[in-house]
């Protein structure tokens, strides 16, 4: 005998009628989100080269993988599986409920034959069981053993209520099924229902069934109606947020347009950066609404993990609380978050890399930093000195003991000449003004000369402007960048080799919107191609070398393999526990090379991690990383251990 909908229930249609007002409540809640989010600025579109499939603003790939499948959640296995059980279990149950509804309305024959047995009974029981176990795991984890990130600085309220509600809905669902089975007899496939019916000991209460039926219905409807007012709204917002995020790594800062300031006629000048919620784009406000406060970003953040006042989660929490309290025009925002926290960000982007719902924390932080610097002139002392130096002498290395040409002392290096030289070897500030890093350039010159590459350098080394951008001064950045672009264009420069990932990132991400289109190759990639094509011959050593991923090369530009290939051709490559896209920053990014750190020093933490691999040498491919690691290693080791890959390659070149 098939199941009969609304069996034992009079006026069962009442529950469907009740659904109407509750769905209105649900939609009203959704509208509330939209109303808040639309107070942000319409998104600026800027061109970023990427070939991902896109319909309108929606990236289809990201929608399915990160959005619907929730692929990032599984980076934490247990939590990921529990979340998967809960989500997919509830997904099955919702389909089941929808089918019952269709059966009532249109007589869809779902309660017949194999479909009833395998889907309506077995699959839905399995779904309920999965969702129940998932919820209970998450609930107990939240209450009994929450991970650091979940509770620091605070946990998001509302989860416990919703998790309890889910538990109640599923338990009452099973009870209903069991009561029905107890009365109507064994239901093939409904393995949970049959088992619970057995537990009831053949007891059969039609009135209890009625009470539970209505209770289950009310709770379920109330649960759905309440979703937009609870953290569970991420069911809707998270897929939207992930599918709108441009699938290019890094925060994608773009460049600011200062033309309004140049305009003599302009009446009202725009406020630079962000000091209140309405200054953010709608995408950022969607970020803050989507964020679940799960704290995975907190757990990977180099600042948060070394006792700084910054927690990327903490920042988003404050922002979302301002949103919930409708404080859209309140400019106490930056003070609430604190300038100290805003300047502690190393812009390493580890936070956004782990974020399951594609929140762009660094961009929000950088927007606020831009305001602090460009409008309020607030910057920590030492970083301020570097900034002042960059402004006055076009490099941030104040107090340097080196002159601009010291790096090329006693070397015969050709200058770039249009038509004669193919590549410009770009010598940035970090390589020019620190004695340790000058060796990178000297090694690279030697490598290029050995390989017979046609290259030249500029008469005077200079900065791309990246430190200005990282410190929040977009204006200074665009001034320096425009000057460079003009000079490159007039010199006929088309191809550039960089030794600093920050320069690389600037050239490839931030110069094109200003009109500077150059073919740029990081030295790790270039050296790798020289080795591959046989233009460099190396003596392979037996030594173990571990490789530290510079954030601006790895996580922000997905260059992981080439530097590793180079290292592997020099010795035995070993990995640190945190590597590739999960690499831990050296601490020098975001202008924090010039910082008096509070708490533990990030570079010491990373140096320790590298040393603990037991590697004889530590390789990296960024002058800032090299300086930070060299300094960090002093705490633990007396001998020099950190090298740039160019230095290592140069040392192992075969003679002749």
């Amino acid at each position: 005998m098939g199941r009969v909908p609304y069996w034992n229930i009079s006026y069962g249609i009442g529950i469907d009628l009740l659904a109407v007002p509750l769905i209105i409540i649900f939609l009203y809640g959704l509208y509330g989100h939209w109303k808040r989010i639309k107070q942000g600025k319409a998104r600026l579109t800027f061109s970023l080269r990427n070939s991902s499939l896109k319909i309108g603003p929606v990236y289809i790939g990201a929608l399915f993988t990160k959005g619907i499948l929730g692929s990032r959640i599984y980076k934490k296995l247990f939590t990921g599986v529990a979340h998967g059980f809960l989500f997919w279990g509830m997904f099955l149950l919702s389909i089941g409920t929808a089918l019952v509804f269709l059966n009532v309305l249109f007589g869809l024959p779902v309660f017949k034959g194999a479909f009833n047995r395998w889907f309506m009974s077995f699959a839905l029981d399995a779904g309920g069981l999965a969702a129940l176990s998932g919820t209970l795991f998450l609930l107990i984890r939240r209450l009994a053993f929450p991970p650091e990130g979940l509770v620091a600085p605070k946990a998001r309220p509302g989860f416990v209520l919703m998790e309890v509600a889910i538990t109640v809905i599923i338990l009452t669902g099973f009870l209903l099924e069991a009561l029905r089975i107890a009365h109507n007899g064994f239901d093939e496939g409904a393995f949970v229902g049959n088992w619970v019916a057995g537990l009831l000991g053949g007891g059969d209460s039609l009135s209890l069934h009625q009470i539970v039926w209505w209770g289950h219905g009310f709770v379920a409807l109330a649960f759905i109606a309440y979703i937009p007012y609870s953290p569970l709204i991420h069911l809707v917002l998270a897929p939207i947020n992930t599918s709108l995020a441009i699938p290019v790594p890094g925060p994608k800062m773009g460049v600011l347009d200062f033309s309004a300031f140049e305009d003599e006629e302009a009446e009202e000048l725009p406020s630079l950066g962000v000091c209140k919620l309405t200054d953010f784009s709608r995408k950022r406000l969607l970020d803050f609404s989507s964020c679940l406060w799960c704290g995975r970003c907190h757990e990977v953040c180099p600042a948060a993990q070394t006792g700084k006042s910054l927690s990327p989660k903490g920042v988003i929490v404050t922002l979302s609380e301002y949103m919930n309290k409708d404080k859209f025009q309140d400019d106490s925002l930056l003070d609430e978050i604190s300038a100290n926290a805003i300047y502690s960000c190393t812009t390493c982007a580890a936070c956004m890399e782990v974020c399951p719902v594609s929140v762009n924390q660094p961009k929000a932080i950088m927007r606020m930093r831009q305001h602090l610097l460009m409008e309020r002139s607030e910057i920590p002392d030492i970083m301020g000195q570097a900034h002042k130096s960059l402004e006055a002498r076009q490099h941030p290395f104040f107090g340097t003991g080196s002159g601009p040409n010291d790096w090329r002392k006693d070397m015969d290096i050709p200058s770039f000449e249009e038509g004669k030289t193919e590549y410009l070897l770009w010598i940035g500030c970090a390589i020019t003004y620190e004695e340790r890093t000058q060796k990178i350039a000297r090694s690279m010159v030697n490598i290029l000369q050995k390989a017979g590459v046609s290259f030249g350098v500029l008469e005077e080394s200079r900065c791309t402007g990246d430190p200005a951008k990282q410190m929040g001064n977009e204006f200074l950045f665009s001034e320096i960048a425009q000057q460079n672009i003009e000079e490159f264009t007039s010199l006929g420069i088309k191809k550039i080799i960089t030794m600093c990932p920050h320069c690389y990132n600037s050239f490839t991400r931030h110069y094109p919107p200003l009109g500077g289109l150059f073919k740029v190759v990081p030295h790790s990639v270039f050296i790798n191609s020289l080795i591959k094509s046989g233009r460099l011959e190396l003596r392979n050593g037996e030594q173990t070398i571990c490789y530290h991923d510079p954030c601006y090369l790895g996580r922000r530009n997905n260059i992981f393999a080439e530097p590793r290939n180079v290292v592997a051709s020099l010795g035995r490559l070993i990995e640190m526990p945190r590597n590739r896209e999960n690499s831990f920053c050296c601490g020098g990014g975001g202008g924090n090379y010039w910082a008096e750190e509070e708490g533990t020093r990030i570079n010491q933490a990373r140096a320790k991690e590298a040393l603990d691999t037991g590697a004889v040498k530590i390789a990296t491919a960024c002058p800032f990383c090299l300086l930070m690691l060299t300094d960090g290693l002093k705490k633990y080791a007396d001998v020099e251990k950190a090298y740039d890959i160019a230095e290592l390659v140069n040392n192992q070149l075969k003679d002749g």
Partner: protein
């Protein structure tokens, strides 16, 4: 109240010794030019006074036309007007004489602030000479200025401490750096506004510079034989250091 701050554009004062070279007795022109460090402290102090007393603030410089774009920073920091007296003299009396003329032309100037010494010639003479030429009080090494009921109260850093001084009338003060007058970073909108400000330029007068003649300018040789002590065991390092200091009769 009208305040004038004197600012001089000088070659980068942080050029490391190893990279320093001279061309016809002066720093090589390749070095970046910037506002002298104590001059920036003086500008900051001028801006603070302007903000407190709603004073007008003029930045005045003696130098080259190319210096204008560097001097605009002082306007962005809060200066209202920029006056450049064009000239190339290094003579303190000639410079002071030119500044005196320009200040008198401005008229109604109550207070002149200047860095305690320029970052190139390192003399610290011009403010004192100018003060006397203007018939104003001259007080060197000032770290704070206030105006109370028309009287100037200033703090002066001396070799042994701090003096609180008071005077009435016009003054020329040379400013030293303290935490309170660390120069501010100009906001971007102020930088743009400064670009649009017109600059008053006047040509400087030559003067008699025959009171002295330069015999030579040279870069002194610095012997650099640093002995790095081993640092494996700091207690041992400290012991070695003390022993060596005693052996070589420094202690």
């Amino acid at each position: 109240m009208h305040i004038v701050v004197l600012a001089k554009v000088v070659p980068d004062y942080e050029v490391p010794s190893v990279d320093f070279e001279l061309v016809s007795n002066r720093a090589h022109p390749r070095y970046t030019r910037m506002i002298g460090l104590y001059d920036e402290n003086a500008i900051e102090m001028g801006v603070q006074l302007k903000e407190k007393h709603a004073a007008s603030l003029t930045i005045m410089s003696y130098g080259r036309k190319e210096d204008i774009q560097i001097l605009r920073k002082s306007i962005a920091m809060g200066g209202e007007k920029l006056v450049l007296i064009q000239g190339t003299s290094d003579d303190p009396f000639v410079i002071a004489d030119n500044l005196k003329t320009a200040i008198e032309q401005l008229g109604g100037v109550d207070l002149v602030l200047a860095g305690r010494q320029s970052a190139d010639m390192d003399r610290g003479i011009v403010p004192g000479v100018l003060g006397e030429m203007l018939g104003s009080r001259f007080i060197p090494q000032v770290s704070a200025v206030e105006n109370e009921d028309g009287a100037w109260k200033v703090s002066q850093v001396t070799e042994t401490g701090l003096r609180e001084l008071e005077f009435v009338g016009n003054g020329v003060l040379s400013i030293t750096s303290v935490p309170e007058n660390v120069p501010r970073i100009p906001a971007v909108r102020a930088i743009f506004a400064a670009k649009k400000k017109s600059v008053q330029t006047m040509s400087g007068r030559d003067g008699d510079e025959s009171w002295m003649s330069e015999v030579s300018v040279e870069i002194p040789k610095m012997e650099s034989t640093c002995e790095f002590l081993p640092v494996e065991d700091m207690n041992e390092t400290a012991m070695t250091l003390l022993k060596r200091l005693k052996e070589e009769r420094y202690l």
